[in-house]
Amino acid sequence: MYSFEPNEEQQMLIDAAGKFASAELRPAAHDAEENREMPKRLIDKGWELGVLQASTPEAYGGFGERSALTNVLALEEMAFGDLAGALAISTPALFAASILLGGSEAQKKEYLPKIVEGAWSPYSAALIEYAFDFDPNALKTSAQADGDAYLLNGEKAFVPFAKDAQALVVYANLDGATQGFIAQKDAAGLSVADEREKLMGLNALPMHRVKLENVRAERLGGADGCDFGLILASMQVASAAAALGVSKSALDHATNYAKEREAFGVKIAQKQAVAFMLAEMAVELEAIRLLVWEAAWKLDNGQADAQNAAYLAFVGACDMAMMITDRGVQIYGGHGYIRENPVELLMRNGRGFPMTLGLAIV
């Protein structure tokens, strides 16, 4: 059957996340970016919405089954409020969902309850590398078997909350394929740069480089490893969902502004050049939204082409976000270029999706 209506539970989550995002994250976004800090109060409050908790089974301390689709719906809402805020709130999920998707039974039992049962605590993951040809399937950070454990060498970039993280899932190249490894905060050879990453956007999210020199780590999934394709697909769909939220926010701001702002005696929205931009933004957003939903649905239902669908949804969402956030600024004109106006930050965030794959997972 085809259906485009969230179920009751999903709708409740959408409503709750949407309310939090509009009422709290959105008004805080500008200052958080300028101050380079997301207020802890908001992170805690976002955590209490319980998105991760609801997608972790009871056996591991949660109260539900994981659904990529449900998480996609929630993440779009949160990112509508603020991208950095949404990513900060869900950083522990980067670690937890990797374990849920690829971890061994023992790893699930060891880590998930710790993360899920309590308050927000910094667990994170490290996928990105600082290279123009960064490719999650061809990582430069390497892993080598050493007895029961593995030795990691290399450098990861853009690792959220790396300074405080209790443990990290580090993705590294093991014999030509990407695998996950669990590295502890105080492992010998693991050093987190003091300096924060300096990026075009996302400055409210503390991110650091992490150097790995013969760091001993446990393999995600135990001896057999994990299905990294599945983890990557979940990251791609998550990134796409966040792109939907950012784009929706830009469209929303631009629509309202165009109905207020006057030029040549009419509202600028009454000019076709502006109205058509808005129409195209709306069409693009809805089209890609459905593509992302379908990919998430395929992941949830174990469809054979799910991973390819996730990849396509991600690529499509990256283009969508750039197109829509760029037009958001265009519709504001000169005012769009001023940091006081929200579309400015949205455009900087809108460019980031291709580069920041790995900062979210569903």
Binding site: K259, A279, L312
Partner: protein, 429 residues
């Protein structure tokens, strides 16, 4: 309810059947039909008519009235008490149209049935009118109907229509005068009623020009009505199997009861808006048709690339892709996301949700996507793309109409923009 993307069984089964029709009846003669512009492929017409009749589809490509599942006999999809099968009539129709157009959109357009003419009767007619005018499509002979809105001086701006209808009170007949152009299926609906069944055209005309839109009405004009003549068959860039007629009406008389909607003019536009609502139902179907052409072109391109040893590697970051990989991957994204918009729009129609916004969205997207895909595919294939040895160049020509009829891309952008801005037609022209 929950969000789901599983193709319903009846749709999947129907697709398999139609794919074989498309491959065996359409593709093989696509080129021939393209080069013999006004020929009628009787084999196809007869075959489709009989096939659709035997499937009990209510005649032609239409949304079959669905019986509530509680009325169905045991074993015919009847489920437990209280459980309702969700209606999928429009979803099925969109999928049929996509598949037939994947075969050949020209052929699809001449599939027997009521087409836009019957859609207008279904949307604006009384129960008696529906019974009188719509039964014929399920009779023995293939039968057509068409819709005549466009005039030489009135295309997108339908309020500029000049055709007039005046009531002759002595005979209680409407007297129609005007000139209509670009009538899809106009010739088959109006002139060929010896080989075919007797069809009709639905003509839009004003009963009170001072009332503007509020004075516009649609009239059912039976095939062969004196005073009405097909004066020209257009020669076109593509969809050449489909006849596009110019029709003149000079003192053409139709019975009083052939008017769709009220014979008197209230100073509101509700009647007109009601009829315009036909487009909410038909726009996603036109989008579906275009996307069938787009899929044909994309599949062909991928096949040829594979034949030539060009592999599309999925999963790479942008910076590592070749130009062709970028193009093909973008085409896939566009095609699929456009199709999902169509599905959503028809799913809304099936579930009786107002879908004017989604219908126009799907039409905007499809118009964009299929023109881009076919144009890009020809470009990538180089001389082979431009050659008439392959159907790709034909699909390029066929695809373009998607962005023009049933509301141009611009008109549908207006509809979308008005919806999201909450503007009326006068606030955003």
């Amino acid at each position: 309810m929950s969000i789901e993307f599983e193709t319903p069984k009846p749709i999947a089964q129907m697709q398999t059947v139609l794919q074989s029709v498309a491959e065996n009846m359409m593709r093989r003669t696509s080129r021939e039909m393209d080069e013999n512009e006004h020929a009628i492929p009787w084999d196809y017409v007869e075959f489709m008519h009989n096939a659709m009749r035997s499937m009990g589809g209510g005649g032609g490509l239409t949304v079959a009235e669905e019986k509530p599942s509680s009325l169905l006999p045991e074993g015919e999809g009847r489920k437990g008490e209280g459980e309702k099968r969700p209606p999928i009539g429009y979803q099925k129709l969109a999928s049929q149209i996509e598949m037939l157009s994947w075969g050949d959109v020209g052929y699809y357009l001449i599939t027997p049935g009521g087409g836009l003419g019957a859609a207008a009767v279904a949307a604006a007619g009384s129960p008696e009118q529906k019974e009188k005018f719509l039964a014929r499509f399920n009779e023995e002979k293939p039968t057509y109907a068409a819709m005549c809105m466009t005039e030489p001086g009135a295309g997108s701006d339908t309020s500029a229509i000049r055709a007039r209808a005046v009531l002759d009170e002595k005979t209680n007949e409407w007297v129609l005068n005007g000139e209509k152009i670009f009538v899809t299926g106009g010739d088959k609906s109006f002139t060929h009623y010896e080989q075919l069944g007797k069809g009709f055209i639905v003509v839009w005309a004003s009963i009170d020009p001072s009332a503007k839109r509020a004075g516009m009405r649609a009239f059912v004009v039976e095939a062969g009505t004196p005073g009405v003549k097909v004066v020209k068959l257009e020669k076109k860039m593509g969809i050449r199997a489909s006849d596009t007629a110019a029709i003149s009406l000079v003192d053409a008389r139709v019975p009083f009861e052939n008017i769709l909607g009220s014979p008197t003019v209230e100073k509101t536009t509700t009647g007109f808006k009601g009829a315009m609502a036909t487009f909410d139902a038909t726009r996603p179907l036109v989008a579906a048709s275009g996307l069938g052409v787009g899929r044909a072109a994309l599949e062909f391109l991928k096949e040829k690339l594979t034949e030539n040893g060009v592999e599309i590697r999925y999963g790479l970051p942008r910076s590592k892709m070749t130009a062709i990989e970028r193009d093909v991957i973008e085409m896939e994204i566009q095609l699929r996301s456009a199709w999902l918009l169509v599905l959503k729009a028809v799913w809304m129609a099936d579930n009786k949700k107002p879908n004017a916004l989604e219908s126009s969205m799907s039409k905007v997207r499809a118009g964009d996507v299929v023109t881009k895909i076919t144009q890009k595919a020809v470009e990538i294939m180089g001389p082979l793309g431009y050659s008439r040895e392959f159907l790709l160049e034909k699909w390029f020509r066929d695809a373009k109409i998607t962005d023009i009829y049933e509301g141009t891309g611009q008109i549908n952008r207006l509809v979308v923009a008005r919806h999201i801005l909450g503007y009326s037609g006068s606030e955003l022209r």
